[in-house]
Amino acid sequence: MSNDKSAAQGFDNRIAFAETLIKLASSNPRIVAVASDSAGSSNLNAFKAAFPDRLVNVGIAEQDLVGVGAGLANAGLIPFICAASCFLTARAMEQIKVDIAYSNTPAILCGMSPGIAYGELGPTHHSIEDLAWLRVLPNITIAVPADAIETEHVVRWAAQANQPTFIRVSRHKVPLLPGTERKFRPGTAHTLAQGEDITIVALGTMVSAALEASKLLKTKGVSARVIHVTTLKPLDDDLIIKAARETGRIVTVEEASTIGGLGGAVAELLAQVHPTPMRMIGIPGIFAPTGNVDFLFERFGMTPEGIAETCLKF
């Protein structure tokens, strides 16, 4: 890992993403990157230097970006279509629906700096809706890697999966998690901490916070199970239903709107199979105020302390 010196604060998944892409592209000439003047923000400058003919930059034009990416995939290449998640998903939604999902085009959409990574820039640049928008589309696998190692595994998988995929590549630095060196399989979530009283189901940047919350809860005598979800779609139904049956209460936590994302997905599942009281942590259906990401995490209870508090009050 090239940014070991920042291990204390954690790793930016975009760096693992870019390094993995270069490694894969070195041995697979079909891999190309597609950018919308986003080579810098997507960490693709090194890719461009190594493979100048395989970085397609369409300029500031996200609809064109996704359409061109679909064409590249149709014609036999493996495009990683990279842009800030807020623009990629909102601006190009119909291209994602028709050109990628409905046409079942094996392109990889890479939503960079999602959630509230651009906290200070305000709600125009927050991407808290992307998961809800994409989750409703058939055919697309939605992967949200939780640390640098899992990011590498997901990128490697996507390059050979030959199917429409969305990878949400976080910018907020996160520590390495236990178990992420394992082989990635879509639809398989993992229990990172055992517990009997309550289950915290966490996604992406919130997995490490959930794990810390379970430790805080332990000191308060609460045994909290932690489930690490990597693919929002397909969801690991069985593991979540089992946790609902065994612990009776579910708290979801995600760096996204609580409407339609992880919280929504788990609620839709459990309401039909095993209705279970739930709390949902994330941005609660509002435009978040402006502020840096740490401020926003604190404000919406997306910290270990905040998650623990929600569990204790449940």
């Binding site: 609809q63 359409g67 990416g69 679909a70 064409g71 149709n74 036999g76």
Partner: protein, 293 residues
């Protein structure tokens, strides 16, 4: 996915062979006769379905027939053949014309045309990838075809393939900004392997293009975006073939094909209401009589 039709493929191959050995007059005759047959089928499809876009089908059908029966380097028995020419119908609402063309090229059995828009048919109201082998991407919402075609043309260059990519755009469709995003990209990447053909019938759903959100000077627009532009009569196959076969330069190529919406049936021609009006039984009969006269 509908299976292809080996018998129809043989007929199509014989047609292509004969065209390749014919003089200009015979080539023109054969293409226009094939188009005439397609127009009668389009009428039948729309009559059975009770829905469709007859005006645009009739303006684009001579372009489609010219491409599939005289120009495209394709193999309907191996639709995904490497280094084939690519064709994308961006104005996907003219699916009936596309289906009639694909069926007679052997991509599926022409008898299936009667299922157009019926429950569970593979012949959706708009072309759907995966349902018929010759459809390279699903279209329907306007402004999607050109960006995808640009991606295909860039991929050809990256993979050092020499095939061409054709995309047919409606003129009203050019009001969608994605076309102009992609036009810039094509010019930036010097995609001389990309050929856009615009079905310039000057009418959109509600009114004339120039009365809605005007496109003229259309040739100047494309030229200013860095494209090589030619203007032809879109109902004259020889003009279209000459424009396609003319030696290019480094620029992507745009052929503005002037057409008549509803071409071939006098009471439909140049009338906006025939964008998606369904002929009555009497009108259908009158249209058929005119096409056969």
């Amino acid at each position: 996915m509908l299976p292809n039709s080996p018998a129809q493929i043989e007929l199509w191959k014989a047609f292509r062979k004969e065209i390749s050995e014919s003089d200009a007059a015979r080539t023109r005759y054969m293409i226009l006769e094939q188009s005439r047959l397609a127009r009668t089928e389009i009428l039948a499809m729309i009559q059975i379905a009770g829905m469709g876009h007859v005006g645009g089908d009739f303006s684009v059908i001579d372009i489609l027939t010219t491409l599939y029966f005289a120009e495209l380097n394709i193999d309907p028995s191996d639709a995904a053949k490497e280094n084939r020419d690519w064709f994308i119908l961006s104005k996907g609402h003219c699916a009936a014309a596309f289906y009639a063309t694909l069926a007679h090229s052997g991509y599926f059995d022409p008898h299936e045309l009667s299922t157009f828009m019926q429950p569970m048919s593979m012949l959706n109201g708009h072309p759907s990838k995966g349902k018929i082998s010759g459809i390279e991407t699903s279209t329907g919402p306007l402004g999607h075809g050109l960006p995808i075609a640009v991606g295909v043309a860039i991929a050809a260059n990256i993979q050092k393939q020499d095939h061409r990519t054709f995309v047919v755009l409606g003129d009203g469709e050019l009001q969608e900004g994605t076309n102009w995003e992609a036009a810039m990209t094509a010019s930036q990447y010097k995609l001389s392997n990309l050929i856009v053909i615009i079905d310039r019938n000057r009418l959109q759903q509600g009114a004339g293009t120039e009365d809605t959100n005007g496109l003229d000077p259309l040739d100047g627009k494309w030229e200013s975006f860095g494209w090589d532009v030619q203007i032809v009569d879109g109902h004259e196959p020889l003009e279209l073939l000459d424009a396609i076969r003319r030696g290019g330069n480094e620029k992507p190529r745009c052929i503005i094909a002037n057409t008549v919406k509803g071409k071939g049936v006098s009471f439909m021609e140049n009338r906006a209401e025939w964008h998606h009006k369904v002929p009555s039984a009497e009108q259908n009969l009158a249209a058929l009589k005119e096409l056969f006269s």
